[in-house]
């Protein structure tokens, strides 16, 4: 399987579908973008894909809370079809609003974890756009993370509701213990941080992304699809003109790592 088939689900208000499709394509995936109505009409559409991606935006205006309506519609119309999709080896990625959707459906952190979470208003009280540094969680078993272990990724984040909160105050710690933290905001020294601006929302333990126990469902607030060209980086004009070439952009690395893991293991 050289080009894993990736489904990008867009809904009313999704607005990062095009760049997400481009990122997957650059990484070598075969992408189809479908309106969520098509999937709700025929859930069997899922069968054709190895990966489902829910991109960023404001699905249904986030009118009942971030990601809530899309989560409700998927849950209601598909029942446990998404869970089965994952059990049969499918992968799910939610970026920003997509992450919020996955948390609201309960797919993240996952029913077996005993932790129920939500993503709520940033500590600063409003929308924030800035680049962040992400450390990758220790999950070599996850196809999303296996080729990124030990990496620090620099990618942009842009959201108003990205702070992880759990019902149980010990929740964040339990997520850590169960190795469900996929990404965390770190400072210039590489240390996880809750302090603004390195952590744009105040999320505890610097949690920026979660992965489910199977390692196949991943959600993160920052936007890897926005760093797939060297010229996306805010400091690219500071490069030495003597001509050292640019490394692979971190966002593209993220998608390439996933494609590599999927193609090397047909039934992850």
């Amino acid at each position: 399987m050289s080009s894993p088939p990736v489904l990008i689900l867009r809904a009313p208000g999704t607005n990062c579908d095009e760049e997400t499709a481009r990122a997957w394509e650059l990484a070598g995936a075969a992408v189809e973008v479908h309106h969520v109505n098509r999937l709700l009409e025929s859930p069997r559409l899922l069968d054709r894909f190895r990966v489902v991606t829910i991109p960023g935006g404001f699905s249904y205006g986030d009118d009942l809370g971030a990601g809530t309506i899309l989560a409700a519609r998927l849950t209601h119309a598909l029942g446990d079809a998404l869970t089965r999709f994952v059990e049969q080896g499918g992968l799910i990625l939610g970026i920003c609003n997509g992450f919020q959707v996955l948390v609201r459906t309960g797919l993240l952190p996952g029913p077996s974890t005993g932790v129920s979470a939500t993503l709520t208003h940033n500590d600063v009280g409003h929308y924030v756009t800035r680049w962040v540094r992400l450390a990758v969680g220790p999950r070599p078993d996850s196809p999303w993370l296996t080729h990124l272990q030990d990496a620090i990724l620099e990618i942009p984040s842009a959201h108003g509701e990205g702070k992880l909160v759990t019902t149980d105050p010990e929740g964040p710690q339990r997520l850590d213990q169960q190795r469900l933290v996929a990404f965390r905001y770190v400072d210039a020294q590489g240390q996880p941080t809750v302090a603004f601006p390195d952590n744009p929302n105040g999320s505890p333990r610097g949690i920026a992304g979660l992965i489910d126990p199977s390692g196949r469902v991943l959600g993160l607030m920052p936007h890897p699809e926005r760093f797939i060209l060297p010229y996306h980086h805010p400091l690219w004009t500071r490069r030495d003109p003597a001509g050292d070439h640019f490394p692979t952009p971190d966002g593209l690395r993220f998608f390439q790592a996933a494609v590599r893991a999927i193609t090397s293991s047909p039934t992850t």
């Binding site: 809530t68 309506i69 756009t129």
Partner: protein, 987 residues
């Protein structure tokens, strides 16, 4: 059914807004949000409340951070709260709801979702609830001025039961009970009575216009109908027809027959005649101007203002202002895809003491926070990066702030043409029509007064960016499948303007009852002129209708046939079969009598600088060391100049992954970039730079000079990041006071003439523009007029984005060069503002040909890789430019004023440091590339004036004594002044 949930940010915001009004509390505020739901199912039959409660808990609240209370109508959440502390609190709950008929997307979505989940409901309304403890005498004002936006919301104290059903304010669904065809007898009226008809109907039509209408109907032997008068009022409004700037003006000894045609349009025509400019695709013809981007694509650009709505409701005003200009892109050609936005705000000082606020105005801090949030929410939600802007602060904007929003679009060149043909269906795509935004076009043509808020509340529109996003998704797909022949947006005047314009060459018949409504009870006239947002009109060949309908339905977008285009050049409006209005297109578009206005300009005689320059550096004894430190820090912290980071970071300036040069640059992201660069086609290296120029202080002194400066600045900004100066297009936005005053109009005439002259001189064409007049605020006997304000926006092609540069210093040891001559231009400068001076030499573009040569040399230097960083010199002059480059790069610098290329008149350190002469750039160059730069600039005023240092120091030595530092500051001090510790909270 409010669900008790404390949102501390909400309470915090309320306390802050209250403090701005002098309502200092202290306040203790509890907040909750909820829904009033009228179920269409029987709760008891459906296994009681338990099951519904769990559905509501999961999807109508956030179960992790909110607590849900399911209450029968009439009970307040306080009764149910488990928190004993708040239960003992005696103050009643105050519930805030949208007024009936105002778009409530949250409620609409809640209703749709509940139906999907198997719980159909008859009605849902969103409600925010508050319980407030604080000084009783301030409480009522807190509610009316802070909690409730009177234009669209209402407050209910205590019991909600009374309003749980649709309000009687919405007229009953029995449309038959209403008169359909309403005649307005006009033929026999005297002048006074004609004016009264116009005034009473908020038509904003002049006596001459009313008489022309009277004659038209006398000739037809009948009276006009209400809808006909409204159609004429919308189409002939200043907002839609720009009658002042396109009308006749007596200016000094000349008669101008059409100011815009003789200035701005003419310069573009002359440029095409002289230089070809085959890259212009569509200028002054469509909703935006279009230039060629590459062989396959064009780019469109339009900037609009939304000033009066923003004065009344800052959030809603800027929100729909941006929404409107995005529709301009979508309505350009057969649809341009919006790829970035711009936003420029002019407001009074945000730290204005509350007691200096004129009656009836909102505090500038609240205005600024509101307009920023409005742009943020529309742009971010539609997924369009807001990448460029400016903030201009002047006390005279206190009653009438200015809000400029712009959108750049990407359009295939073969989609630029559009023509509706007879027989095509008139289709409305997108949102539904409601009573919101009635009379926006005519309202914006009047001045604001203390009563505007109450009289014109209906003129405020409510935006829903998601409706527009889905509309855009469908429109672009339909364009690519060639399902329609023409499209335009519904802006001011609603259907009346959109259909009236599209059908100008054909004719149109419209069946008004077919328009999808938000609620029943609109009169045919209201349907016709409603400015409900997020609607576009398409001309659809009948054979494509079914395909378009299916495409739209598949994405939850409404598409409805309203009528068809005809070949009779007549606009026919029907309601349930009866003709309610019929106007000849020729009269509608050509029947407006020309306006004749008088203009005059009282040239202000040059004034000497007062108080004169401090003694010292021109020979009368040595000044103290670092004598200008304090002035520089004051200027750096002025609202116009200081960091806009708190605004920029609320905008998603990176969505769509196109932003190659960000609005903030440098390792800490503190540097104010000169212009943003975006990548319209991600697989191509060709880019677009977007910048702007605005200078209202010089406008007071010399409007002609101001226009030259704004044009020079806008071009300079885009050239500074890498745009090719021979591929820059400009937009104008004139915001002026009441042009019935000859001197106000005179200053506008001069500015427009300067636009012509400088566009020619720089060989830079205008491609589109917009004016907004009557920007005044009247209270009692006092009229507050804004300063003449011209915004010039620039769109420049960057041949290869890999060559782009930013303004942050890169490496110590590099050389600092200046290109451009410094003159004695202190009048209207930030230094005179900071030091309380008046008079001086007015900055103006003295030699545009030289500046153009400088622009070309800078471009060549950047494209050849000679330049590590580049910054254009603007507000605050050389000193501010140097300081910004240093703080952006986190590196120090030393500069020597005696090396500066300058006019003989520049003899004083203050002039060299702070003069605002246009046409100048600072460059950072690697030492081994200096010879190349020297060769490139050998015929230009250019010199090496300093170097980049490792030490965090800003050191500038004097004109006459190179050993004497006139500025010597630590980078920390510079940064502190510039950042001002501003954010949304501390603002």
């Amino acid at each position: 059914m409010p669900s008790g949930a404390t949102i501390p940010h909400d309470a915090h915001r309320i306390c802050r807004d209250a403090a701005d009004l002098g309502l200092t509390g202290p306040w203790s505020i509890q907040t909750a949000r909820g829904f009033l739901i009228e179920p269409a199912f029987d709760l008891q039959e459906r296994r009681g409340t338990e099951e519904f409660s769990s559905v509501a808990r999961r999807w109508l609240s956030d179960p992790v951070v909110e607590t849900l209370h399911l209450l029968p109508a009439g009970e307040s959440p306080a009764l149910q709260t488990s928190d004993p502390a708040s239960a003992s609190n005696g103050s009643p709950w105050i519930h805030v709801l949208l007024k009936p008929g105002v778009t409530d997307p949250q409620a609409d979505n809640a209703r749709a979702l509940l139906a999907t989940l198997g719980w159909p409901v008859n009605s849902v309304r969103g409600v925010r609830s508050y319980r407030i403890d604080g000084p009783a005498d301030q409480r009522e004002r807190l509610v009316s001025r802070v909690l409730v936006n009177d234009a669209v919301e209402m407050a209910i104290q205590g019991n909600l039961a009374a309003i749980s059903r649709p309000s009687p304010a919405i007229r009953p669904a029995n449309a038959n009970a209403q008169p359909r065809r309403v005649e307005v007898p006009l033929r026999d009226l005297e002048d006074d009575a004609l004016i009264e008809v116009s005034r009473r109907g908020q038509l904003a039509l002049s006596l001459e216009e009313m008489k022309a209408i009277q004659t038209y109907f006398r000739d037809r032997g009948r009276e006009p109908t209400e809808i006909e008068l409204e159609t004429l009022a919308q189409t002939w409004s200043e907002h839609c027809s720009h009658k002042t700037l396109k009308g006749r003006i007596e200016f000094e000894d000349q008669l101008i027959t059409n100011l815009l045609r003789e200035t701005v349009f003419r310069s573009t025509r002359e440029l095409v005649g002289r230089h070809g400019l085959d890259w212009l695709v569509s200028v002054f013809a469509d909703n935006s101007g279009v230039i060629q981007f590459d062989k396959e694509y064009g780019v469109s650009f339009k900037v609009e203002t939304h000033n009066h709505p923003s004065a009344i409701d800052p959030y809603g005003g800027s929100n729909t202002g941006l929404g409107g200009v995005i529709r301009d892109a979508l309505g350009t050609g057969r649809g341009a895809k919006p790829i970035c936005n711009t936003s420029v705000f002019c407001v009074a000082p945000p730290n204005l003491p509350a007691e200096q606020l004129p009656p009836g105005t909102l505090h500038p801090r609240r205005v600024l926070r509101g307009v920023v949030a409005g742009v943020r929410d529309y742009g971010n939600r539609m997924g369009i990066p807001t990448v460029n802007g400016a903030l201009v602060v002047d006390p005279r904007y206190v009653g009438n702030p200015l809000v400029f929003c712009g959108t750049v679009g990407l359009i295939p060149l073969n989609a630029v043409d559009k023509t509706a043909r007879p027989g095509d269906l008139i289709v409305v795509l997108g949102g539904r029509t409601g009573r919101d935004g009635i009379h926006g076009a005519t309202f914006s043509s009047l001045e604001l007064t203390e009563e505007s808020e109450t009289v014109s509340g209906g003129a405020v529109q409510i935006g829903n960016p998601i409706t527009q996003k889905t509309l855009a998704d469908v429109l672009i797909q339909a364009r690519d499948r060639a399902l329609f022949r023409s499209v335009t947006d519904c802006g001011a005047g609603g259907f009346s303007s959109a259909i009236g314009e599209m059908g100008e060459q054909t004719g149109a018949v419209v069946d008004l009852e077919t328009a999808p409504l938000k609620y029943q009870g609109l009169t045919p006239t209201e349907i016709w002129i409603s400015e409900a947002q997020e609607r576009m009109i398409l001309a659809v060949p009948p054979e494509h209708w079914e395909a378009l309908r299916e495409l739209a339905a598949g994405e939850d977008v409404e598409a409805t046939v309203l009528g068809r285009f005809t070949d009779d050049r007549t606009l026919t409006l029907r309601y349930q079969g009866e003709v309610v209005g019929q106007l000849g297109m020729e009269f509608l578009h050509g029947g407006r009598p020309d306006v004749l206005r008088r203009a005059r300009h009282n040239r202000v005689a040059p004034q000497p600088l007062k108080p004169p320059l401090p003694g010292g550096s021109s020979g009368q004894g040595a000044p103290p060391i670092a004598t200008y430190n304090a002035d520089l820090l004051t200027i750096l912290s002025h609202w116009d100049i200081c960091s806009k980071e708190w605004i920029v970071r609320q905008y998603d300036h990176e969505v769509q992954a196109r932003t190659i040069v960000k609005p903030l640059v440098g390792p800490q992201g503190h540097g104010p970039g000169d212009a943003a660069v975006i990548l319209p086609r991600p697989d191509q290296p060709r880019g677009l730079a977007i910048g702007c120029g605005i200078n209202n202080r010089v406008g007071d002194l010399d409007p002609y000079a101001m226009a030259g400066l704004a044009i020079d600045e806008a071009i300079r900004n885009v050239v500074a990041v890498g745009a090719d100066p021979s591929r820059v297009a400009l937009l104008d936005n004139f915001c002026w006071g009441n042009t019935n005053r000859p001197e106000t109009l005179g200053s506008l005439v001069l500015a427009a003439q300067a636009c012509h002259d400088f566009a020619l001189a720089y060989q830079t064409p205008f491609i589109s523009g917009k004016d907004s007049l009557n920007n005044e605020y009247r209270h009692g006997q006092t009229t507050l007029t804004i300063p003449p304000t011209l915004l010039i926006s620039a769109l420049g092609i960057v041949p290869d984005v890999q060559d782009c540069v930013t303004m942050d210093l890169k490496r110590s040891g590099n050389a600092l060069w200046i290109v451009g001559q410094t003159g004695p231009h202190l009048a209207g400068s930030h230094w005179t503002l900071a030091t309380g001076r008046t008079g001086g030499v007015i900055p103006e573009v003295e030699e545009a040909a030289l500046n153009l040569r400088i622009f070309r040399a800078i471009h060549q230097a950047i494209a050849s890789g000679l330049v590590r960083s580049c910054h254009d010199l603007n507000e605050g002059g050389l000193a501010v430019g140097l300081a910004e480059m240093a703080l952006a790069g986190g590196l120090g610098l030393s500069a020597q004023l005696h090396l500066l290329p300058r006019d003989e008149a520049v003899e004083h350190d203050a002039v060299a440091l702070f003069a605002e002469t246009p046409g100048r750039f600072l460059l950072e160059v690697e030492p081994d590339r200096e010879p190349e730069l020297a060769t490139l600039t050998r015929d230009l005023p250019a010199a090496r004036i300093g170097q980049v240092l490792d030490e965090p120091l800003l050191s500038i030595t004097g004109l006459h004594d190179p050993a004497l530092a006139v500025v010597s500051l630590g980078l920390d001090q510079v940064r502190q002044a510039f950042l001002r510790d501003l954010d949304d909270d501390t603002l």
